[in-house]
Symmetry: D2
């Protein structure tokens, strides 16, 4: 109610139409995560387990996804779980494992930060900060990551409109940090056969309204590993600048979200298929 795009008097950093109306010509930006850039011709693949569980799990997964051409490693150390009695993540120990594996493999690392008090420690170990779906409107957290010099992966809230999503990005941009990547990860609808409803129309919409790179998370978007390949290909065809996917070396033993995780072999196969689709739309993987 309170934030009509059309009535706001301020200069909004992320809305291309608003900038153009004021005579400013915005250019699509590229976000750098260590030496990987998101927002260029190449579709960037981010892969790894839902949660960091052990060095063995992390190393095996990281080495394998790197071989298949993934460019960034994902893995949660602090996990937002619906129940307080579910596995909550390894915390700082998990961050250290991520950092170590990052050095071993050369893959930069993205991991979630859930609380303003965690930012300092997460910045110490991670190359990119992830703001999860449940925290998309955690404004103190958005402002604080906006004061860091780390690139931010901002996931859409499962019930957030496109406008609210861009406004959340604006909270980060307004503090000076312009390195923000938007991530569509499924919205909540009446349909229950999938975990969420992956809203791929968000990809062209966000790219039209803003200058920020847009990636897609087909793992959370569907909740079903057998459906991830179809939707990953669809996301690339729709114009996504990247994908973030859950990959586990033993999905059936995962401590969290095993049902939606690809195995190592499935991921390798998918990467080949994605390359063909990316090339069909003038890009590459």
């Amino acid at each position: 109610m309170e934030t009509k795009i059309s009535t706001d008097q301020e200069l909004i950093d992320c809305f291309i139409p608003m900038k153009e109306n004021r005579g400013i010509k915005p250019e699509p930006i590229q976000v750098w995560v260590s030496d990987v850039h998101i927002g260029g011709r190449e579709v960037i693949i981010i892969a790894g387990p839902c949660a960091v569980e052990s060095m063995e799990q992390l190393v095996e997964t990281a080495v394998s996804v790197k071989k298949s051409n993934a460019k960034i490693l994902r893995g949660g150390a602090f996990k937002p779980r619906s129940s307080p009695y579910s596995f909550q993540g390894l915390g700082e120990e998990g961050l250290k494992m991520l950092h170590e594996v990052s050095i071993k493999t050369g893959l930069p690392v993205v991991t979630e930060v859930m609380d303003t008090r965690q930012i300092e420690i997460v910045c110490r170990y991670a190359d990119m900060l992830q703001i999860g779906s449940r925290n998309m409107q955690n404004y103190p957290l958005l402002k604080e990551v906006g004061k860091t010099n780390k690139p931010v992966l901002l996931k859409r809230g499962m019930m957030a409109t496109i406008e609210e999503f861009l406004m959340a990005a604006e909270y980060i941009l307004s503090q000076g940090n312009k390195q923000v990547v938007l991530c569509e990860r499924g919205i909540r609808t009446f349909e229950t056969s999938t975990r969420n409803t992956l809203d791929l129309s968000a990809v062209p919409m966000l790219k039209r309204l803003s200058h920020l790179p847009v990636i897609v998370d087909p793992s959370h978007g569907t909740g079903l590993s057998w459906m991830v390949p179809s939707m990953a290909k669809a996301a690339v065809a729709a114009g996504a600048d990247g994908l973030i996917m859950e990959v586990h070396y033993k999905p059936e033993e995962a401590l969290c979200d095993g049902q939606q995780s690809l195995g190592l072999h499935e991921f390798t196969q998918l990467m080949k298929d994605l390359k063909r689709v990316a090339q069909a739309v003038g890009r590459d993987v």
Copy 2:
């Protein structure tokens, strides 16, 4: 997670898992619309105006889309409109125009039937009967089209679950007509920047649960002509067996849904792009 049909005791025609549980091995079927078949390797493109308005409009559009390789012509003669004061379609006159243009161009024709009393006359002129989104649970209508020998294009209700959609198909199949094509056309969610939210995950889900061909309508699914190409490509990448799209020779003058209609030139360009994406996933247009 997966759709459960827990209570029904009957042998359900459209659910592959239920059939397999009973030891029956169902095969994907192909639906024939005149000499065009849907459900094979080729992705079938259905194109044409939202509503039949005049012979000039219909001929110019049909000739052009055929040249670009569309295989079936669409066009509404009976139009379901939210307001009783909006244009309601040309009725039988529109059907005659469709039939005439079909003969001229060789394109078979699909058009909507809204009432049991219209079935006879629509069958006289059309090659395929469309059941619109608002009538997906109009059970007397479903039963009656199930008694005809015309193939049926069944659109998903904008608030229908996957299970309800398959049950609606079952109403047709149970009457003896096995020639049913399912069409995802966007569901209603909280998001208002698009007309509906195109649920592309419905494509792999429907194909897994049933043996019926599945097509996608990116025109109604987005409501925005500039977004149709992105979502059309995504639908093909996700595994759709076809697309149905609104194309108008003068979108800005259309009596209905002009905002979501492609112009002739845009459609021609899109068909080239679709061919590349189809080939990238092992199919063709």
Copy 3:
């Protein structure tokens, strides 16, 4: 998309604000169902089984709900069911039972009509025609009931906005039949602990935007008989002109919707509670 209330050029019968803008002073109308009027000071209670099953069931239920002060009997003869293999209603035989019990008890009868071809026969036996949720946008059906002289109970589609609901009423009114009662019966949302989400804010909204009486169906709105009393009281407190509730003499044996049906004793108790709430808001039951 196509029907903005604010831009329509026609005189819309059901929208009070539009009429007032044109200098017409609309008054709330009262709908007469035989000798019962809906839309006055009294909150009208409609009760009866989901489906007509037998004379015994119908008589026992009707006599009991009448004793508790229900004013209209409900009961389905033609049943819209998600599966074609579920019980579909007794058809004309059910209509005859309804008519006979109506004469025996003096209660007028409301029952659903699903198809234009059924209108004549339903009009022969019923005092009020019900358009079910799934048919709210079945425009040929709406137009045809608009040509009869029977009052119409129009249920909100589970996916219909307030505006679409009023436009559906307009399809009936535009044909000359002004005796329309609107019924809120729950909308579809992400929440699954109830069958639907009963949108009680629709009551004050519809009463502000139109001059038609508004009633509420807490049985379908919740799907849970234990919750019906709470929501029935809430509906009356919110300003509803009536309630329609499922009551069965043996809920556990009901052929349809037993889980949401009140038993005879529960209904009697509820009617006493409703009287107190109605009086607290200046009305009566």
Copy 4:
């Protein structure tokens, strides 16, 4: 149909059914906010402005709502706003004003805390901590307020299921703080004529599944001040243990949410009407 907590092995504090299955007899608890208790026979009214703006505004509003029998004063010092350029609240200065007015009027004070770093200062000035809708799944924040000895008002997330809502409460309870009040404040649906869809069925559902008091916020639930009285009465009729409402001495000048704020006179009138409805359901205001 009913909420299932299928996987958790722990003893869940807030779920009555789970406790009963373990042979523990849970009793409805009462929450004490200073000398006011929520969860007893009396329906507790919490009123005040959306945001603290000035001493004049706060004093005039507080004195007036107290005279009308409100028992707790609300007012935001830290405001979660969709846009970073909207008024963000007065911060600590606002907290001091709340505290001062609380002492002047004898009304205890509830105010929102948005960040773990704010908890200490908010606890210094407030009698009850509010967790807002956007932070319902901000787990670090929930855990921290669970370690304080202040009662907590937990608002349902606009996209949260009943189960997720109870699990969020569990995050607080599991840390030792058992003084939690649940607040239904509207969920997000496809309907746009109201700001949210107030889900009053949540009241009986939450009271059945848990032993925590349940209150309703008809101001955010509807977004329309003219609709607040209808829905406030409906909430009390549905069994709510309290209401929280936005009241402003000059709604048209409010810095935030003026459209949904009652004026002082409207509030006074509503309190009289609420008393009658409360008594009709065996309670009082």
